[in-house]
Every structure is written in C-alpha cells, then in structure tokens.
Subunit: 409 residues, 2 copies
Amino acid sequence: MIGVVKVKACGLIVEYNPFHNGHLYHLLQSKNITGADCVIAVMSGSFLQRGEPAIIDKFHRAKAALTTGVDIVLELPYPYAVQSSNLFATGAVLTLSEIGVDSICFGSEHGEIESFTTGYDLFTNNKDSYNTTLDKYLKEGLSFPAASTKAYHEIGLSNGDIDLSQPNNILGFSYVKAIMDYQLSIQPYTIQRTSSNYHDTEIKNNIASATSIRKQLLEDEKNLLDVSNTLPTETVNQLQSYKDKGGIWHSWESYFSLLRFKVMTMSTEEIASIEGVDEGLEYRIKDTVLSANSMYEWFESIKTKRYTWTRLQRIFVHILTNTQKNEMNLIKQATTVPYIRLLGMNQTGQAYLNKIKKSLDKPIVTSYSRDQFPMLEMEERATNAYYSVLKPKQMQKLRKQEFKSPIIV
Amino acid sequence: MIGVVKVKACGLIVEYNPFHNGHLYHLLQSKNITGADCVIAVMSGSFLQRGEPAIIDKFHRAKAALTTGVDIVLELPYPYAVQSSNLFATGAVLTLSEIGVDSICFGSEHGEIESFTTGYDLFTNNKDSYNTTLDKYLKEGLSFPAASTKAYHEIGLSNGDIDLSQPNNILGFSYVKAIMDYQLSIQPYTIQRTSSNYHDTEIKNNIASATSIRKQLLEDEKNLLDVSNTLPTETVNQLQSYKDKGGIWHSWESYFSLLRFKVMTMSTEEIASIEGVDEGLEYRIKDTVLSANSMYEWFESIKTKRYTWTRLQRIFVHILTNTQKNEMNLIKQATTVPYIRLLGMNQTGQAYLNKIKKSLDKPIVTSYSRDQFPMLEMEERATNAYYSVLKPKQMQKLRKQEFKSPIIV
C-alpha cells in the first residue's frame, strides 16, 4: 500500500464531539510535524469511546471538520469505537493503514514519541509479567484501566518516564502498540496535549475541552453563544444546523426511557449475551432498572470499583444497539478491517483518493445496502439506535444522509 | 374439584376494557341463568385478545368490576390472553376449571347454547375434513379466521344455524370446544349479545360497546363525562383514579417510539423468533419501520389479506413484550395452567376461596417473585412493557400493586 503514491498522508484518530479549537490546533500541528499534504481523520460515529452518544450526528461533525481543514473523514466502525483503548486503537490504526497514511499524530500528556516506542519494546519483552500482574489486580477487583496501570508500573514502564495512568498516554501507547503488533508502515508522532504548552497563542487562549463544551451545551442550548469562542465557526453552524433540521443535542438522558423499556423486557440471559456484560452484572442491571429515575441514577446504582462509569456506559450503549458478544468475538479475532467507510472529503481529499483508489485492498463504502458486511449491519443498528430518540419525520430526513454520496466540501 | 363445595360458582371470560353497562348486564344475566352464588371472572391483563394495550391497568379494571358485583377477578395469563380464539379459550376455561366453577356464561350473537354443543359434535365428527379445508384456504392466502369460517361452513356447521363468522360466536364455540376437549365438568350457558334483545331496559338504553367507549376516551379525555352514562360509577372512578396516579389512557400510539426503537435495533432473525412472526413477515416489519410516522401507518403498511390488523397487533404486542416462539411452544403443549393468579375479590369471593382452597390443585399466586413459573415471568415482562410508557416515579408507584395482596372490596 505505502509507497504507491507520492502524496504524504497523515492519520488522526478523533471523535470531534464536537470539533473545537483544540482539535484545530492538533490538526495544524500534525501537518506541521509530519509535513503531510493530506490529513485523514478516522472518527467515531454515533457513539463514542467512553460510551456516550455523540452530541450531534456524525455527518454534521464530519462537515465541521472538513470545512475547517481536515481533508478526509472516515468512520471508525462501531464495534471498534465503543471499546477500551486497545480495540479502539486497533480499529483506528488498521483503517488508517488501509487508506494508506504514512504517519499518525496523536495528542498525549507525555508529548515525546520516543518514550512510546521504547516503552513498546519494554512491554513486549515483559509481556508475561505484565499479564500475570494484570490478572492479579483484576482478581482483586480493580477495573481494567487501574489494573493495567499497575501492571505497566511493575514491569518498569511508566516509572518516572511515560505516565500510563494518563488517559491520552494510554490511548497513544495503544496506537503505537497496534502499529508495532501489526507491523504497519506508519510513523507515529505525538504532540503535547497540555494547553499551557500550546504555542499557537491565538488558538490557545480559546481552548476548552470537549467535555466542558458539551456540559455547557447540554445544560442550556443558549450557551452555544458562550462556548462559540472555543469553536471554529463551522462547528457552531453545524451544531445549530443539526438542531434546525429537527435533531437534538444528544445526551445519555435522551435514551433513558428506551433503555428502561429494553431492560425491563429482557431476560437476564439476554442481558448476559450483550457485549461487555459479565460476572453476573446482568442481575445488577435488571435489579436496578425499576428504581432508577434517570440514566445518571441508574449508572450510580450499578457502579462499583470494578465496573467503572465508563465501562457501564459502554455496556449500556451495547444494550441500546443490541450488540451481541458472539458478533463482537468475530471482530476481536479479525486482523484487518473489512471496508473503509467514507463520510466526507474536501478537494485535497478527493484528489488523494483518486490517486490511491486503485491500490486499495479494501472497498470504500459510503452507504448501507441489503447484502452488506456484518460489521456494517452493526453500524446501521447503532445509527438506528442513535436516531431513535428523534421524531419520525426528523429521523427519516437526517438518516437519509447515510444513503447519499459522501459529504464534499 | 367439582362437587367438593356447595357454593355454585359461575365463570365469566372477560376483558373489561373498561367495565361498562353491557358487562354489568352480562354479569346479572349470568347469575340469573346459572343460579350461581359466586361469579368469577378471568380477565385479560395488560394486553388484550385482539392485540391492544388495555386502556388502564388490570388492577383498576378489576376494582371497577369487583365493586360493581363480580366476586373474584383472576388474571388470564399473558400467553393465553394475546392469542387467537382457541388458545385464548383454552387458557380461560382451564383457569376457571382450576378455581372450581360449575358453569360459564358467555355472550354470543347466536344466543342459544344447544347449537354450540351440537356444533361441537358435528365438528369432532368432521375434524379431518375441517382441517383439510382450512389448510386449503390458508394456502390460498386467507387469514385464519376467514379460512376457518369457510371450513366450518363446508362441514355443515354455521349453515343457517350458528353463524361462525360472528366474533362472539367464534369465541363461544372455542369455549365450548375447550370444555369438551378437556372433558371438564363445566356447564356452558350463553346469552344473546345484541343489545336490541336486552330485556333490562334500564341498563339497555345505556349500553355502548367497549370499542366506541375507548374511541371517545382516547380522542379527548374530557369525553369521560359524555360516556359516563354507559359506565357503572366505579368504572368512571377507576378511569379517573388511574390517571390521577400518573397513569395514562393507553393506546397503541403510546408505544410507537418504543416499538420503532426495538425493531430498528433487532436483526431479522431476532424478529423471526418472536411469537406469531412467520412466512418472511420479519422483512416486512423491518422494511416498513423507517417510513412509518405512527403505529396506525405502520400497521397499514404491513397488513395484507392474510395478515389481518388483529394478527399484526398481536405480533406487535409480542415484540413489545419480547415473547419468544420457543417459550410459547411449551405453553401450547401444556394441558393445564400452572397457577391461578388472583387479582382481587369481594367478601363473597373471599368466602368462596376459603371454602375451596384446600381442594385446589394449583397454587394461588398474587405477586411476582424471584423463582417463579416461566409463565409468570412472561406476565411480568408484559406488565413491565405495559407500564414502560409512564414516567419512572408513576411506573414505580403503579407497578407496586403487583407485589401487594390482592384487591379486596
């Protein structure tokens, strides 16, 4: 794949929920560092890595990114998107590899790529020891992230060097690990995420986290004006446009009545067959449904040291999207992605795709069809679940984009 | 069972959706004809025989009936209630038999019991011929009721005598058939349903069908005043009381968004595993979900000559309640009911139960519990689905009755 084309492409792994000034800074810095002519983002679709519905749909988020300078936006397939860091990273890196990127560039708290690559060597040389320690802490009832951080620490990783308890270091390390494990010809780069180290002062002064932006938007829609200085103009437009078309700003609470109904009419065996549910969690989920008055209350009443809020959120996304363990097992065993889903592109992106399309090993798909990949069927279910909180006419209109040509800006 | 007690009990098979003056007439006439001291109604619970949600919950409907003169109200288990006439009749008659009724009395268009019993003999003597003709018409694409009517006609039943295309004659014939097939010691009686033949003029002038009463109530809640002359006072009270406690007057449209979500996230294989779905109907159900703007539109877009409105309604109840073919198959093979669910009673009913309870073969249950009958689990799911259109606090409050002692008036 690599070497067929002259155009240098850099891959970004993103959620853009929504696309804000920090993302713009990441985009500009990535071009700078890698010298890429074309920037390709692989973006979570309807639901996000931490197990939340995206605030607006993928098409409006993709359009904001494309208008602001990303050249191509691909969809990270649902079965990879709503997963812990390793599977998330695998799906993203494999997708970017199929589309032929030379490099990826990710933000991290650490900010120096060497520690990630030497860390990988340390990790592979001590894999058994890592796994033993990981198992020990999992058995003690720690959550996977907590147990993994401790296991990294004990094999000497993250001792005074790269801190693998930091969320973006963990993700970054997973990207590097996926590249190395699959022996992909992709050069990893990282930029430091801490906003105090940002050099571009004009943007820097107007950076807020996606979390804080969403919080304000979901609190009161009038806050769009207040957060608009942290967002590129096109993001403000798309947030507004999605709502104007009859969309809402999606949050967990939008899905409460649907999930309550679903769980109240499922048997515990059926809940146990859902991706991520194990160790008798099906009983806890069912026992708590009747007394919960909101998603927040429901999560609170289930969560334990082992079942973190994030893990529960992912499980509840899988209940909502009816994602079965047996379909996920097939995907977890796969070593490639079956297709590349193109959400949109600009002219630079279009030119890049024209040049490389003959050398692609995997089909580019833009739309759902009757006889499709099992993974695309899961994507369609996820999209259906996502839109199912909208009124019928609005749902029909917004969902149509799924069957149209990709967005071109 | 029969003969153990001196008190004469008459069974009624009812839905009371809601209990109206026609039902009161049926109750009084039944006591008259049978000379029963105790009247026991077996009533559909959350969902009804024609595949509709009950307008108010079973407890408020039961209370109206008990206050107006029914002595005991039992629940017809969900797996029997939402079914075509034969299985509906079997569940009802077997339940009444377990509680020890001496007779049943049903309303019919025909009005004369002899034709039902001689009809049964004609039917059993020509069963093979009936089945052959039934199959032929089913293969031609007729619905079951239409094919069955034709098959009855061809074996000489319903020729000028009992008209088995009339809905209450069909149900009545199914009751008689169930009594005879299971060789139960129950004497069947019938009264004529046509209101013009009603003798009790005081009630007669104020009789309207449950369908027309519901139509008016669902159109505008203010119509409660207009229909109140067709309802016993206690029904008006219970309709109001259910709403005052945070309930709604349930209709199919209340369930549209839940069903749309459910179907949009089910695979066709999963839809095909639902009770009643066959011959590829799963594709039709899935293909039509996205364009429907209401339950009405959805039913309209699926229905065919073979898939009547009623049959589709039943299937959609089963989707809502997650009723699987494999759990129903066990029930269809059963020759007794596993328990008697008591919803409520008055003092006459209480005295009756005290006298006969030692001679009962089946347990009387009033509440759901952890280790319960599979059929009661299905009932709980149905109840959960029924209440899931209410807000959490109201749902919690109203659902509590499920775990309380039976209603005593």
